[in-house]
Each structure stands twice: as C-alpha cells, then as structure tokens.
C-alpha cells in the first residue's frame, strides 16, 4: 500500500548556500543530514498520524512540522527529541486546523459532511467506518489521546509530552474517549 519513495531524493544533503562560512556550513550539513534521516524514517508515519487526527491537508501539516523543526533544530536538547517534537507540532497544527475548519463551516452555514478521501474509506469495513466517524466526532483532545495510545502505542508520558498536558489528563481523555466510542458503538448495534 505504502509506496516507497523513489531514489529522486539525494542520499546526502546538497551543498548549502555559498555565503555560509566554515563552521556554519558544517552545522548546516549536519542539520540537513539529520533531517533527511528523520524524513526518510518518519514522514509517512507522521502523515498517517495527521490523517487519523482528522486533518484534511495532512501533507501541508507535516511539511509545516518539518519546516518548524528545521528552523528550531539548534534549540533541540538532543537529536532524540526531534521525533517527539514533530509529533507534538503535528498534533497542535491538526487541532488548530480542525478548529479553524469548524469555525469556517459554522459561518458558511453549509451542512457539509466532513471531508474524507474515498480511497481511504473504501478500505474500511462498515463497522470500522462507523468507528472512525465516531472518533472524528470526539473532541480534539480525546481523539488525539486515543490515536496516540491505540495507534502509535505510546506510553502515557510520551502522549502527555506530545499533547502538552499532564499524565492525569491523558488518562482522563483516553477513558472519556473510549467510553464515548463504546457508547456510540453499542447504540449502533
């Protein structure tokens, strides 16, 4: 299903701008090399995370996350913190995007259904489609907690870091979200 990216991507970062000096140039190369590796390993996963969280423009959101990481690379406490940072940015951007779309739809007063790709929906069974629809109907925080917990299988501390909340709040959002989903699915039977 997932197409692997062809070899159009360079194995190593290209030479940076000529105006850069010696040490900044090395730092630039190291940053780009690290980003190439991160992109290669995690781009598809982050794209899927954005889709599961309900983003309609997942590619733009993940691109934005990588741009923010590029800009703030020197402020990372260590390279291992890059992936949690990307997850956190994706969660925040999707939440902002969904809220923006809710406001736009409210003002447009269109009875529009949420946008969902037909290709993705076609892969789901009827009960799964209903479950995903119920998931999309949850508040953003609950949806994030459930996706991070049950799709990425993250620990509570990792979820808390990604969402920028406490572990107790993660537990609360997960429990409420699961209760709401279970209620919806039982009503459907």
């Amino acid at each position: 299903m997932v197409r692997s990216r062809p070899d159009t991507r360079p194995a190593a970062p290209q030479a940076p701008a000529p105006e850069l000096g010696g040490i900044p140039r090395l730092a630039e190369l190291a940053r780009e090399a690290a980003l190439v590796q991160l992109f290669d390993q995690h781009y598809t996963g982050l794209l899927r995370l954005a889709v599961l969280l309900g983003a309609d423009d997942a590619e733009d959101i993940v691109s934005e996350a990588f741009c923010q990481l590029y800009r703030r690379w020197n402020r990372l406490r260590d390279p291992e913190a890059a992936l949690p940072y990307l997850r956190s940015v994706v969660c925040n951007l999707v939440r902002m995007r969904v809220r923006h779309l809710q406001v736009v739809r409210k003002h447009a007063e269109r009875p529009g259904a949420p946008t969902e790709s037909a290709e993705s929906a076609a892969l789901l069974r009827e009960d799964q489609r209903a479950l995903v629809a119920a998931l999309k109907g949850l508040p953003a925080r609950q949806r994030e907690a459930l996706v991070l917990r049950y799709w990425l299988s993250l620990r509570e501390t990792e979820i808390a870091a990604a969402m920028g909340i406490s572990c107790g709040a993660v537990k609360s959002h997960t429990a409420r979200g699961m209760a709401a989903l279970t209620r919806v699915m039982e009503e459907r039977r």
Binding site: T44, C67, M178
Partner: protein
C-alpha cells in the same frame, strides 16, 4: 468498554490501522518540503539582514541629525563647565 473492554480497544486499533494503511506518501514530498524550508530560511536571513541594515541606518541618521542641530559652541557629549585655571605662585625649595 464496560462489558468487553479488550474488544473495543482492539476494534479501535484495527480501524485505525486500516485507515492508516490507506494513506500513502507523495513520492516527491521530500523535494517539496526541502524547497519550502530552504525558502523560509533564505527569507528569514533576508529579513534579518534588512532589519539590521534599517536599524543601523536609523541610528546613523539620528546621530547625524543630533550633531547637525547642536550649537557649534557647546559640546553635546561633555557638558561639564570648564574648570577655571588659577595661577598660583609655585613654592620651590632650594636653589633657583
């Protein structure tokens, strides 16, 4: 969750996996994203350079304006009154 907690979680996992499997990455995504972050970096540097140039130019203009409107007779940096020199006879001991 109340009756069969494992089932609800498993069903959610299955549904999320099925939805995620249908998401594919654009083959040209890397080039697009790299072009975007490089464009932003260039723009950031350009804006920074322009800002520094504007601040320097403004400081220069302000300094020149202040110097130009000052009274040539009075000093604008050291405005202490000039000390009055008093000539006292020097007491010297010994042979002139």
């Amino acid at each position: 969750m109340t009756s069969t907690p494992g089932t609800a979680e498993d069903r959610l996992r299955e549904a999320l996996d099925a939805l995620a499997t249908g998401v594919t990455a654009d083959p040209d995504a890397y080039r697009r994203v790299r072009a975007e972050w490089r464009r932003r970096e260039r723009r950031r540097r350009l804006v920074l350079a322009i800002l520094v140039a504007v601040v320097f130019a403004l400081a220069d203009v302000l300094g020149l304006w202040a110097l130009n409107r000052a009274d040539p007779g009075s000093h604008i940096i050291f405005d202490d009154p000039a000390p009055v020199e008093q000539h006292r006879p020097v007491e010297r001991v010994g042979q002139p």
